[in-house]
Symmetry: C2
Subunit: 227 residues, 2 copies
DNA sequence: ACAAATTTAGACAGGCTTGTCCAATTCGTC
DNA sequence: GACGAATTGGACAAGCCTGTCTAAATTTGT
């Protein structure tokens, strides 16, 4: 309804542009309506293409769905690794740097369109397509957590943190900085910039209170166990 | 497939028993297939009744769906408040008591059939039925978190914890003790007893490392910042 | 055991969806 | 400008699903 603005104003789009357009529209419709509820006519309309074109490009509904998931998975993983690459390995202000990192992680990977849609599709249809799930599970969370754990291990080795098990710390870091966004995520909503910042700030403070080495121990403990 | 064992062996079931049977089957089918994909014939078969009986009891598909959500919401909230009532207000061994509480919370509220199904339904259909969502949001997480926050505030007041904002602490507590179960939840799976215990243990330890008052400060910090 | 209420199986109409086919039109390229 | 490829819109069959209706069988209460 509110779509069709920008796509339709460029009547001549290339073959490839239409393929992308279709996958985009399909992503949005599959997420909104679920696999069973998604309607090829609606996808075609939302993509600004005829139904036949959808079939020409993707064969049938199931293949189109696969294409959507593959597409989403790739983009999400790319985004996650690009963001992990910005991890503060040599922090100036550890708290501020970790908060900024957490905000980037949330904005670029978890709260953006791709992240929210992929999550919803996996939750809704993951059990029906175990193969798709398996691929995502290997490529996605598994490698993400390892990569993040390695960064935390380096921080610990450099004396900025005190961590027993970097894998546990990485998972808890992500859990903490998202703690206040759970409900919004649950409903597929988009948290405001301010909510993201607040959740990240609270999460990182607690994380540092638990894992900060004595050199960088936060105000909270300093105030409680002085001298 | 694996259903129909116990229900079918009792051919004479009361009116009310059939209503429950139908709602139960509907819950399972709606969760598995989504609203659009759910099929009344299948629900009837899985409940061991005729299709007409489903219509006699619940009118139409949408009303049946409402009944399912209402049912699930009520049972879940009851379970959550019953479990919060077992919060360790006068802890003997704070760490052990909080771990046991976290395990109860997970087993009775979050990992059980009702919890997993309600979460999945809200994620999948929450946007389509804002009214249902609103009711759940008020009754569910809102009150849960407040109740839990109040308990943590009492622990802090009694000197067992050191907490600035009990609401934040409550949310972070839940996030931490579930940190390692996220992927399993995402796929609608059921974590093993051991996974629940491990996640709770790791979560509570980190929670206490961050929020423990100096009297109960955990080994982790004692070992790192001696004398 | 009898009468009322409930349940059942099946048929059925109406609507919607997928996927195919085709003739007419438009597009990209030379 | 002309040719081949892609796109379009619409018609179409086949299947599935919801929700209704019926007549027969069963269960419940008394």
């Amino acid at each position: 309804m509110k779509l069709g603005v920008s796509p339709d104003t460029f009547p001549p789009r290339s073959h490839e542009a239409k393929r992308i357009s279709v996958v985009d529209a399909a992503t949005s419709v599959f997420c909104r309506e679920g696999y069973a509820g998604a309607n090829i006519d609606l996808i075609a309309a939302e993509a600004g293409v005829s139904r036949q074109t959808v079939y020409n490009h993707h064969g049938d509904k199931e293949k189109l769905f696969m294409a959507v998931v593959r597409d989403l998975t790739e983009r999400c993983n790319a985004g996650i690794f690009a963001t992990i690459a910005t991890f503060p390995d040599q922090p100036i202000d550890l708290e501020a740097d970790l908060i900024a990192f957490a905000v980037r992680m949330n904005r670029n990977c978890i709260c953006n369109r791709d992240g929210r849609f992929l999550r919803k599709l996996i939750q809704a249809e993951g059990e029906r397509y175990p193969e798709l799930f398996a691929e995502w599970r290997e490529q996605g969370p598994g490698r993400t957590w390892s990569a993040l754990a390695a960064r935390f291990a380096r921080l610990a080795y450099a004396g900025h943190l005190s961590i027993d098990d970097p894998d546990v710390a990485a998972r808890q870091f992500l859990a903490l900085v998202n703690a206040e966004l759970q409900i919004t995520f649950m409903l597929g909503g988009m948290p405001t910039e301010e909510e993201v910042l607040r959740s990240a700030t609270n999460g990182v403070r607690t994380f540092l209170a638990a894992f900060g080495s004595y050199k960088t121990t936060s105000v909270r403990q300093a105030a409680l166990a002085p001298a």
